[in-house]
């Protein structure tokens, strides 16, 4: 082929692709311009459908704004969000967990939304101070908590009834008794086929018990304190359930799936799992606060936080603020997807109090703890994972496992501190 013709074809192809990439905007009929807002989150379950419904309602009520939602599983989401944000291609509004906020804040991607908090917009006193603390950095509030999702107890109502319980166990004695009573060898092969209790996500199960035994993540100076005596006692308790064969062995792989299949009567998990249970027609369930297994009540929690990208033009910023206010004010709808609203006023409504599981979980708000506010949370949590795994597999004592976890976690914290020192 003639080289000039080839070159011409190549250039023509590039121009053609460029026109296609431009969405034919210059060729199509002009239409009323909307403020387009991209909204990213990790709501891939039933909660995503609820959120989509809320967005549709908002878009209909605000014809000048078009919110489009993109959702992906949380692990992938965080990777993509960070890379997109670094490159300046991040969404205008996004949801992150309060526990991951320190890294986004450190990266400078989240805008100050303090202006959203006011008597006529989002009254500060309508949020629990502890929850608001999680999104506050100095005098800046960098996100609006949409919900609170504590860990709690789910139980199979029918199984509990057979053991003479018409409610959830509330203390250690009741819990252990039920775990023991409901463990059954149905087929007579000397191996239990049904369990009273099973661990779900080990790390969360352990962290939920930490405050009950007086444990903590960090000391007063922000150093790792994973080998705190309270944490050791909490992990020893979990380990004892394994030793006493009150939970399936680690290789069994039951847990949430086992609970859904009625092979496990009780599990600890987050309120967000309610969406999954609602889809089951044949499971009669109860949900509420964790039983008090230690010296005091306690549980682990986190929040979905609505964040705004730093540096938005006014037009977009206004649209985003309107949307945030809409979501927050209508969070009773969000609660129906299996969440506890962050707004006190919403939680006080009869509508919310008629949601038995969500309302039950919300009773833990006064004594819940959030994961530590550190930049190295993923590495820190991995150490907790490993410690719990070693103990549950009987490969280490709680004290030894947590000591190693503490030493490693401290290394990550020290490294982060050293790297935060800006060189002159």
């Amino acid at each position: 082929m003639n080289p000039r013709l080839s070159l011409g074809l190549l250039i023509g192809l590039c121009v053609g692709l460029g026109v296609v990439r431009g969405d034919f905007q210059c060729l199509g009929p002009s239409k009323a311009r909307k403020v387009e807002i991209s909204f990213w989150n990790g709501f891939t379950g039933p909660d995503g459908r609820t959120m989509l419904g809320m967005i549709r309602r908002f878009n209909q009520a605000n014809p000048g704004v078009l919110i489009s939602m993109q959702r992906m599983d949380w692990a992938t989401y965080y990777n993509k969000l960070m890379v997109a944000a670094v490159d300046g291609r991040g969404p205008e509004i996004f949801v992150i967990h309060a526990s991951t906020l320190p890294r986004m804040q450190k990266a400078g991607f989240v805008a100050d939304v303090s202006n959203l908090f006011g008597p006529s917009t989002l009254p500060r006193e309508d949020f629990d101070p502890y929850v608001l603390d999680q999104v506050t950095y100095g005098d800046r509030i960098v996100g609006v908590p949409l919900d609170i999702h504590p860990q709690g107890l789910y139980a199979n109502k029918d199984a509990l009834k057979k053991a003479g319980f018409d409610r959830l166990p509330v203390n250690r004695e009741e819990f252990v008794r039920l775990a023991s009573l409901l463990r059954k060898d149905v087929d007579g092969d000397k191996r239990p086929d049904e369990w009273g209790f099973a661990l779900t996500l080990w790390r969360n199960n352990f962290q939920s018990l930490m405050p009950q035994f007086g444990g903590r993540f960090l000391d007063e100076n922000g150093n790792a304190d994973l080998d705190h005596p309270g944490n050791i006692r909490a992990l020893e308790f979990l380990g004892s359930l394994g030793k006493d064969k009150l939970v399936p062995p680690p290789e069994n792989g039951l847990g949430w799936v086992g609970y859904r299949q009625k092979k496990v009567a009780m599990v600890f998990d987050g309120v967000y799992m309610l969406g999954d249970l609602k889809r089951l027609n044949d499971l009669n369930y109860l949900g509420g606060p964790l039983p008090q297994l230690g010296d005091r009540p306690g549980t682990l929690a986190d929040s979905h936080v609505l964040c705004v990208r730093e540096g938005l033009p006014n037009e977009k910023r206004e649209a985003v603020e309107k949307f945030i206010q809409f979501l927050s004010e209508n969070s009773i709808e969000w609660a129906d997807a299996g969440q506890v609203p962050a707004r006190r006023s919403v939680r006080a409504t009869p509508e919310f109090q008629a949601m038995p599981v969500q309302y039950g979980f919300s009773k833990q708000i006064p004594y819940m703890i959030y994961p530590p506010r550190i930049n190295v949370l993923f590495e820190f949590t991995l150490e907790i994972d490993l410690a719990v795994e070693k103990v549950m597999r009987g490969r280490s004592t709680a004290a030894e496992a947590l000591k190693i976890a503490d030493q490693n976690a401290q290394k990550f914290i020290d490294r982060d501190r050293a790297e935060r020192v800006v060189k002159p």
Binding site: M82, N252, F378
Partner: protein, 291 residues
């Protein structure tokens, strides 16, 4: 423009799309990763970006998790490469000996390799599931105890290797089969007339003549084994107790979960050196044997 100039220009025009793509997606990323490996580059802190020389490499060599991941990778390679070689060779020999139905068998063997690793991973997650998985269903049916395929430290890596073999043995066996079909039949006929039995034929004729292909298979499978990521990531997420977390997964987590791009890039270069070293040693070793 002279004829020669036109020819030259035509050549470059044909090459241009590839050169642009290769430069953009291979040369530039290699350069960037080399630059990153000597930098402190935390995605969450632009202020921290600074030149650190070989510090990232030194840190990696002192990092217990790096060595643990390297050990897991080596364990995978040790289990995978010989199994792959023996199985693929056996299958190729079997297919070669078939008079009918060879194409059907070859297609069936090749089929799993057409699946994306995510599809294969999800399928095998179900096979291995402790409660309602296919393998334990069969074991229970045979009156045997169910096995912790993925949740026991001793079982997890062999289980991953088994899935990897199922997924990739077809491609390798087809390559070996193609090489077998290239060996002139007259050689076998002459040896048979001289009274050679099957095993002497295999060891004295088939294997020596297959050596170049086997060399290729071993080297490419070694490179692939050291880069293992999808299978353990989908089946075990690196557990139990990080026993199946390979180097690539550790690099991925370092760079994209912990946002330490510089450190991740340095570990990538260390992995590259290890792979290059192994490939070179194998190549030399097999080549020397051939000569």
């Amino acid at each position: 423009m002279t004829y020669l100039q036109e020819r030259k220009l035509t050549g470059w025009l044909y090459l241009a799309p590839f050169v642009v793509a290769f430069t953009t997606f291979v040369i530039v990323p290699i350069g960037v990763s080399l630059w990153l490996s000597v930098m402190r580059f935390d995605l969450t802190s632009r202020e921290s970006v600074s030149f650190v020389g070989l510090q990232n490499f030194q840190d990696a060599l002192k990092d217990d998790y790096f060595w643990q991941a390297m050990k897991a990778t080596l364990w995978f390679a040790v289990l995978m490469i010989p199994s792959m070689l023996i199985l693929a060779l056996s299958l190729a020999l079997g297919m070669h000996a078939m008079n009918r139905g060879r194409n059907v068998v070859r297609a069936m063997l090749f089929l799993p390799g057409m699946f994306n690793v995510a599809v294969a991973g999800i399928l095998w997650q179900w096979f291995y599931n402790g409660e309602f998985g296919l393998f334990n269903f069969w074991l229970k049916g045979a009156g045997l105890a169910p096995q912790p395929w993925l949740s026991d430290r001793g079982f997890a890596m062999p289980s991953i290797v088994l899935m990897s073999l199922w997924w990739s043995v077809g491609g390798t066996s087809v390559v070996i089969l193609a090489a077998l079909q290239q060996i002139p039949k007259q050689i076998f006929e002459a040896a048979t007339l001289d009274g050679a039995a099957y095993f002497p034929l295999l060891s004295k004729i088939t294997l020596p003549l297959l050596r170049p292909v086997l060399m290729f298979v071993v080297v490419t499978n070694t490179i692939g084994a050291f880069q293992v990521f999808g299978q353990p990531f989908l089946l075990t997420r690196g557990g139990p107790e990080l026993s199946t977390r390979g180097v690539v997964q550790y690099i991925y987590e370092t760079a994209f979960n912990n946002y330490r791009m510089g450190y991740g890039a340095a570990m990538s270069w260390l992995l590259f050196l290890v792979i290059a070293l192994f490939a070179l040693v194998q190549y030399r070793f097999l080549r020397r044997g051939h000569q």
